[in-house]
C-alpha cells in the first residue's frame, strides 16, 4: 500500500450484506419457536447464538479489512493447503452429526471446514491462474486448475455432503471468464438434460429424440455443402455422438436405479413428479410449499405465520429459512431477498470486471460463482424446482461456520477491490 492511498470500499456490497444478515436473523428468530423462550439474548437457542456469530463476523470483517491485500495473494497456497488438511482431518477427528462427518467440535461450538474450503479454493485458483505463464489453452495447466478445484469436493463427498461438493461447479464461471471453451458448459448441460429427460420420459424416448436431433442436424449441415469454407459433413462424427449420447442416457439410468442411495433417488423422484409422497421424504418439500404459499402478497407478519410458528417445516432455520421469510413477509419480502441476491451477484461481477490485476478478477468471479450456486440451489430447492440438496442460503441461514465462511469470502474481495487502483501486479 502506498502512502496516502485511501481504500475505497464498495458500499453497495456492504449494504446488501447488512440487509441479508438482518433479514436472516429475523427469519431465524421467527422460525425457532419463540414462545418457549423468553429472552432474545438467550444463548441456548439458535437466534441467540446466531447473534453472537454475527457480532463475531463483524469483528472478523474489521480484521480482514485491516490486513494488507497482498497477504491473501501471497499466502493463497498456504491457506489452500491448510484448508485441505482440515478437510482430511475430518476423517480422523470429525464429529458425526446427523449422519455426516462434517464437523470439528470444540465443546458446544462446531466448526465446518468445508465452509472455508470454498474461500481457500477461490484464492488458490486465482493465485494459480494469475501466474504469468499460465493459460487455460495449455492442457497441463488446465489439468492443474481442475485438480485444485476438484480436490475439495473429492474430500467432501465421502463425509458425505454432496450438497457442499456441488458448490465447486461455481468455478466453471471463473474458468469460462478466463478463456475456457463454452463446450464444457454445453456438454455439462447436455449431460444433465439427458439424465433428467431419461428419468422423466424414459431412456427409450430420449434416445429416439437424440437420433431425430442428430439426423436433422446432419441434414442441415449437408445443405451447406456448397459453402467452401465449411468442412464437409462428417458422417461418422454424428453417428458417434449419437451413440455416446444414447449410451450415456442408459448408463446414467442404470446408475440412478442401482448405484444411487434411496435417499437421493427419492429426492429426485419427487421433484420430477415420478412419485408423490407428502408424508415421508416429500414432507419437507410439501410443507415448504404450503408455508411459502401461505404468505400471499405481504405475508402474515413477523412471528405470525402459522406454518413457521407451528414448526411445520423441518430445518427451517437452516436450509429452509427462505420459507419463513416467504410466509411472514410474503411475496414482497421473498422477492426482495431474490432481488438482493441478484443485486449482490451483479455487483460482484461488475467489481470483478473492474479489477486491474488478474488475481483479484479471478477471485472475484469465484466469489460471484459461489454465491450464484448457493442462491440457485437453495431457493430452487425450497421452491420445489430442484431436488432437495442441503446447502445454506448465504448470510440468511443459521450457522456460524457458514456465516463466517461467506463473510471471509466476500470481504476479502471487498478489501482487494478497495485497493484496486493502487494494488497492481
Amino acid at each position: 500500500m502506498r502512502i496516502g492511498d485511501k481504500p475505497k470500499y464498495d458500499f453497495y456490497t456492504i449494504f446488501i450484506f447488512l440487509g441479508l444478515i438482518t433479514i436472516g436473523w429475523l427469519a431465524i428468530y421467527s422460525s425457532v419457536n419463540v414462545e418457549t423462550y423468553s429472552s432474545i439474548w438467550d444463548m441456548n437457542v439458535e437466534y441467540g447464538k446466531q447473534f453472537i456469530w454475527i457480532a463475531l463476523a463483524l469483528l472478523l470483517i474489521v480484521i480482514i479489512l485491516a490486513i494488507e491485500p497482498k497477504f491473501y495473494e501471497r499466502f493463497a497456497g498456504v491457506i489452500y493447503v491448510v484448508s485441505m488438511l482440515s478437510l482430511l482431518g475430518l476423517f480422523v477427528f470429525g464429529k458425526e452429526i446427523s449422519g455426516a462427518r462434517s464437523w470439528y467440535s470444540f465443546g458446544s461450538v462446531g466448526l465446518q471446514p468445508s465452509e472455508f474450503a470454498k474461500f481457500a479454493t477461490a484464492l488458490a485458483v486465482a493465485k494459480y491462474l494469475s501466474q504469468l505463464n499460465v493459460t487455460l489453452k495449455n492442457k497441463k495447466h488446465l489439468l492443474i486448475v481442475g485438480g485444485i478445484i476438484l480436490l475439495p469436493p473429492l474430500l467432501i463427498i465421502p463425509q458425505p455432503d454432496p450438497g457442499s461438493a456441488l458448490v465447486y461447479s461455481a468455478f466453471f464461471f471463473t474458468l469460462y471468464r478466463e478463456g475456457l471453451s463454452l463446450w464444457f458448459l454445453t456438454l455439462g448441460l447436455l449431460a444433465v438434460g439427458l439424465f433428467v429427460g431419461a428419468l422423466a420420459i424414459g431412456p427409450i424416448l430420449v434416445s429416439i429424440s437424440v437420433l431425430v436431433v442428430v439426423v436433422v442436424m446432419y441434414l442441415l449441415s449437408r445443405k451447406r455443402k456448397h459453402k467452401k469454407r465449411l468442412a464437409p459433413p462428417r458422417k461418422w462424427l454424428y453417428i458417434i455422438t449419437a451413440f455416446l449420447a444414447i449410451g450415456y442416457t442408459f448408463s446414467t439410468q442404470f446408475v440412478f436405479e442401482n448405484v444411487l442411495s434411496d435417499r437421493h433417488r427419492n429426492r429426485i423422484d419427487i421433484i420430477l413428479g415420478r412419485v408423490e409422497d407428502n408424508k415421508g421424504i416429500g414432507y419437507n418439500l410439501n410443507q415448504s410449499l404450503i408455508t411459502i404459499g401461505h404468505g400471499g402478497w405481504t405475508g402474515t407478519g413477523l412471528l405470525k405465520g402459522s406454518q413457521t410458528q407451528g414448526g411445520y417445516v423441518p430445518e427451517q432455520h437452516t436450509d429452509f429459512v427462505f420459507t419463513a421469510i416467504a410466509e411472514e413477509l410474503g411475496f414482497v419480502g421473498a422477492s426482495a431477498v431474490v432481488l438482493l441476491f441478484m443485486a449482490l451477484i451483479y455487483r460482484l461481477v461488475i467489481m470483478a470486471e473492474r479489477q486491474r490485476n488478474q488475481f483479484a478478477r479471478v477471485y472475484g468471479y469465484g466469489v460471484a460463482g459461489i454465491f450464484t450456486i448457493h442462491f440457485f440451489v437453495n431457493i430452487g430447492m425450497v421452491l420445489g424446482l430442484l431436488p432437495t440438496v442441503g446447502i445454506p442460503l448465504p448470510f440468511v441461514s443459521y450457522g456460524g461456520s457458514g456465516l463466517w465462511g461467506f463473510t471471509v469470502l466476500l470481504f476479502v474481495f471487498v478489501k482487494l477491490d478497495a485497493h484496486r487502483m493502487s494494488y497492481d501486479h
Binding site: Y176, R177, I292, Y312, A326, S335, V349, I379
Partner: protein
C-alpha cells in the same frame, strides 16, 4: 460475451424464482387452504350421555367408563411384541395389522388399537402399558345397562358410519350415536351437544392458543336424562313369561297413553352390545334370520288381528244402528254367506246376543253384523268406506305416531282397495273375513293394545308414547297429551265391554281369571300361512289376546301376540292375565298359570318347518312341556339370545 454469461444466468434464475413465488403465493389458493388445515387443532369435549330411568325412577341405562388402547406410531420404541400381545389378549398378527393400519393413517396422530375395554378388562393393562412407549389409553364414556331386559326397546349406541356423517355434519368419525330404539329416537336429547374448541397448533399437534379468539368454538351442552314410561318389573316379568316363545307384548296405560311395557321375544341382554365382543354380537343378532331377534314383534309384527277385531265390528254395528245389544242371532256351526263353503264356527250356545257373541267369539254372529254394516249403504264401496272410517278412528291402518323408530302401518281396507284388487263385482260377503279379523285386515300388537285402550276409555285414546319426563320435567308435547276420539259414541261401549267381561266369566278365557280383578278381554286365533320353498303352507295358528282391567277404572290395556301359540287362551290370555295381575297387584296369585308358562315351550313348533319332514299343525294334544329328554329342542341354549 464472456462477461455476460453469469449476469444473464442470474437474471434468468431471478425471474424464474419470482415467477414461481408469484404462482405459489398469489395465483393459487390450495397452499393457503392447506396451511389453515395444518394450523387448527380441534378438541372436542364430549358431554356425558343422558341416563334412562323407568317410570318409577329406577335407573335402566347409565354410563360407564371405557378405555380405548391407542398408539401414536412415531413414538413407538422397540418393544416385546409377545409380552404386549399377552397383556392386551390379542394375537400377534392382529397387533401388527393394527399397527400398520395406524401407521398408514398417520404416524403422528393417535389411532385406536383396541377399542372399548371395560373397567375390568382394562385394570390389568393399566400398570403395564406405561412400559410401552407410544401406547396409551383414552377414556371414553359408554353405556352401562343396569337391567338385563328391554334390549330392543332401549336400543344401542354405536360408532357412526360414513353415510351418517355425510347426512349430519354434527358427527365425526369415531363418534357414538343411537342406532336403534330409544337411543335412536331420543339421540339429540340424550347426547347433548359436544363442545368444540379450536386451537392453533404446531407440527406435533400441541395446541398453542385459541384460534381466532374462540370465534368458532362451541359450548358443551350436557345430555338430558330421560324418564320413560316403561315399568321395569313388568318388562322383566314379561320377558320371563315369553321365554322359549316368540311374539310381542304391548301394555298401555289407557288414561295417558303411556307404554307400560313393550316386549319382543326372543330377546337378549343389552349389555352384550358393549365391550370388546360387541361387533361380533351385534352381527350375530342382525344375521339371525330364523329367530330374527332384531325384528321387534311388538311394533313390527303385522298380522291379521283375528277375533279381537270382532269387538270393533260390534261397536261399529251399534254405532250404525244395524244391531241392538240384545238382538239374538242364530249360529249353525257356521254362517252360509253364499260362498262355496260356509264360514265355520265352533260349538257353543245359540242363538246369542252381543254379550255372548263376544264371549263365545261366534263367527256367525259377527259375519251377520258385518254384512249389515256394509249393506246399510247404497253400494258395497260406500259401505266399506264407512266401515273403514270407524275402524281407522281406533288408530288402525296407519302409523300410530308413537315415539319409537320402527313400526308398520297395518292395513284396514276401504272400497277403493277392493275395487282395485277385484276385477269382478264384489259385495259384503266377498269381504266377509273382515268380520272376524282375518282376510285383508292387518294390525300390529301396539295397534291392538292402543285399540284396547280406546275401548277401555270408552271412546278415546292418547297416542301411545314411551317418553315420560325429560330431565325430570313431564312432557307437554301436544301429540301425546291430547285425546284422540273414535267415531263411536261412549254409550255403545258398555254392551261390548260387558261382552269382553263375559269372556273372562264364562267365555273363552274363563280359565285365566284373576281373583279380585275384573278383566275384560278377547281371545284370538289367527291363521298362519308361511311360504316355504316357494309353496304356501299353513302352520299352527298364532295366539292373540287383548284385555284391559279393571273394568270400571282401567289401569292397563294389553295386547299379547304369541307366534304359533295354537289359540288365544292357550298362551296369550294366560300371559295377558299375569301381566295385568303383576301390574295391578304387584304380585302373582295365579301361580298355576305362571308355572304353565315357565315350563312350556313352543320351540318344537318353530322347528317344524325347518325339519324337512311332514308335520302336523294345530295338534290337539299339548306337547309343550319342557322335560329333561326334550330340553335340547324345547329349551335350547340359544347363545346370545335368552
Amino acid at each position: 460475451m464472456k462477461k455476460l454469461l453469469l449476469l444473464f444466468l442470474v437474471t434468468v434464475i431471478g425471474i424464474v424464482f419470482i415467477a414461481r413465488l408469484f404462482y405459489l403465493q398469489i395465483s393459487t389458493d390450495s397452499y393457503k387452504q392447506k396451511a389453515v388445515e395444518n394450523a387448527q387443532k380441534v378438541i372436542y369435549d364430549y358431554p356425558e350421555r343422558g341416563f334412562i330411568y323407568d317410570r318409577d325412577g329406577e335407573l335402566m341405562v347409565g354410563n360407564q367408563v371405557a378405555y380405548d388402547i391407542m398408539v401414536t406410531p412415531r413414538e413407538v420404541k422397540e418393544f416385546d411384541t409377545l409380552a404386549l400381545c399377552k397383556l392386551l389378549k390379542i394375537d400377534t398378527t392382529r397387533l401388527l395389522n393394527q399397527l400398520n393400519k395406524a401407521k398408514s393413517w398417520s404416524t403422528r396422530k393417535p389411532s385406536v388399537i383396541i377399542p372399548q375395554l371395560t373397567q375390568e378388562e382394562y385394570a390389568p393393562v393399566q400398570e403395564q402399558l406405561r412400559k410401552y412407549k407410544g401406547f396409551f389409553v383414552r377414556r371414553r364414556s359408554l353405556r352401562k345397562y343396569l337391567v338385563d331386559h328391554s334390549a330392543s326397546v332401549l336400543g344401542y349406541i354405536r360408532e357412526v358410519n360414513t353415510s351418517k356423517i355425510k347426512k349430519d355434519p354434527y358427527y365425526d368419525l369415531g363418534d357414538l350415536a343411537g342406532k336403534s330404539g330409544i337411543e335412536l329416537q331420543y339421540e339429540d336429547t340424550l347426547r347433548g351437544i359436544k363442545g368444540k374448541k379450536i386451537y392453533r397448533r404446531d407440527v406435533y399437534g400441541r395446541e398453542l392458543e385459541s384460534y381466532e379468539n374462540g370465534k368458532y368454538d362451541i359450548e358443551t351442552v350436557a345430555g338430558s336424562d330421560l324418564t320413560v314410561t316403561l315399568d321395569n318389573d313388568l318388562q322383566a316379568y314379561g320377558e320371563l313369561l315369553m321365554k322359549n316363545k316368540r311374539g310381542g307384548i304391548v301394555a298401555i296405560q289407557p288414561k295417558t297413553g303411556e307404554i307400560l311395557s313393550l316386549i319382543t321375544a326372543p330377546n337378549y341382554d343389552p349389555s352384550i352390545l358393549m365391550g370388546r365382543d360387541r361387533s361380533k354380537n351385534i352381527n350375530a343378532i342382525l344375521r339371525d334370520t330364523i329367530r330374527i331377534p332384531d325384528f321387534n314383534r311388538a311394533l313390527q309384527a303385522q298380522y291379521a288381528p283375528g277375533s279381537p277385531f270382532k269387538v270393533l265390528n260390534a261397536l261399529v254395528g251399534l254405532e250404525e244402528g244395524v244391531i241392538r245389544p240384545n238382538e239374538k242371532l242364530r249360529c249353525n256351526h257356521g254362517y252360509d254367506y253364499g260362498g262355496r263353503k260356509p264360514l265355520g264356527c265352533h260349538y257353543h250356545r245359540s242363538p246369542l246376543g252381543m254379550e255372548l257373541g263376544i264371549a263365545e267369539s261366534c263367527n256367525s254372529y259377527f259375519a251377520q253384523v258385518y254384512r249389515r254394516i256394509i249393506e246399510k249403504e247404497s253400494s258395497p264401496t260406500a259401505g266399506m268406506n264407512n266401515w273403514n272410517k270407524h275402524i281407522s278412528s281406533f288408530g288402525l291402518g296407519d302409523y300410530l305416531g308413537y315415539d319409537l323408530p320402527v313400526g308398520r302401518a297395518g292395513r284396514i281396507p276401504d272400497g277403493e282397495f277392493y275395487n282395485n284388487n277385484y276385477k269382478f263385482k264384489w259385495y259384503a260377503p266377498t269381504t266377509i273375513s273382515n268380520a272376524i279379523g282375518q282376510g285383508e285386515v292387518e294390525a300390529t300388537p301396539i295397534q291392538l293394545a292402543n285399540m284396547t285402550a280406546a275401548i277401555a276409555n270408552r271412546g278415546y285414546f292418547y297416542t301411545p308414547h314411551i317418553i315420560k319426563k325429560i330431565n325430570g320435567k313431564p312432557i307437554t308435547e301436544e301429540n301425546y297429551t291430547t285425546k284422540r276420539y273414535t267415531t263411536i259414541s261412549p254409550e255403545h261401549f258398555e254392551p261390548v265391554i260387558e261382552g269382553m267381561s263375559e269372556v273372562y266369566k264364562s267365555g273363552t278365557a274363563k280359565y285365566s281369571q284373576i281373583p279380585g280383578i275384573e278383566i275384560c278381554g278377547k281371545t284370538g286365533t289367527v291363521e298362519n300361512k308361511m311360504r316355504i320353498d316357494g309353496k304356501t303352507k299353513q302352520l299352527t295358528d298364532h295366539s292373540v289376546f287383548i284385555a284391559f282391567a279393571p273394568k270400571d277404572d282401567p289401569q292397563i290395556a294389553i295386547a299379547v301376540f304369541v307366534e304359533n301359540g295354537y289359540w288365544g287362551s292357550r298362551y296369550a290370555a294366560k300371559i295377558a292375565s299375569l301381566m295385568i295381575e303383576k301390574h295391578i297387584k304387584g304380585e302373582i296369585t295365579r301361580t298355576d298359570l305362571e308355572q304353565y308358562l315357565l315350563t312350556h315351550s313352543l320351540e318344537y313348533e318353530y322347528a317344524k318347518p325347518y325339519s324337512g319332514e311332514e308335520f302336523l299343525i294345530n295338534e290337539a294334544v299339548d306337547r309343550g312341556l319342557i322335560t329333561e329328554e326334550n330340553k335340547h329342542i324345547y329349551a335350547p341354549d340359544n347363545g346370545l339370545l335368552k
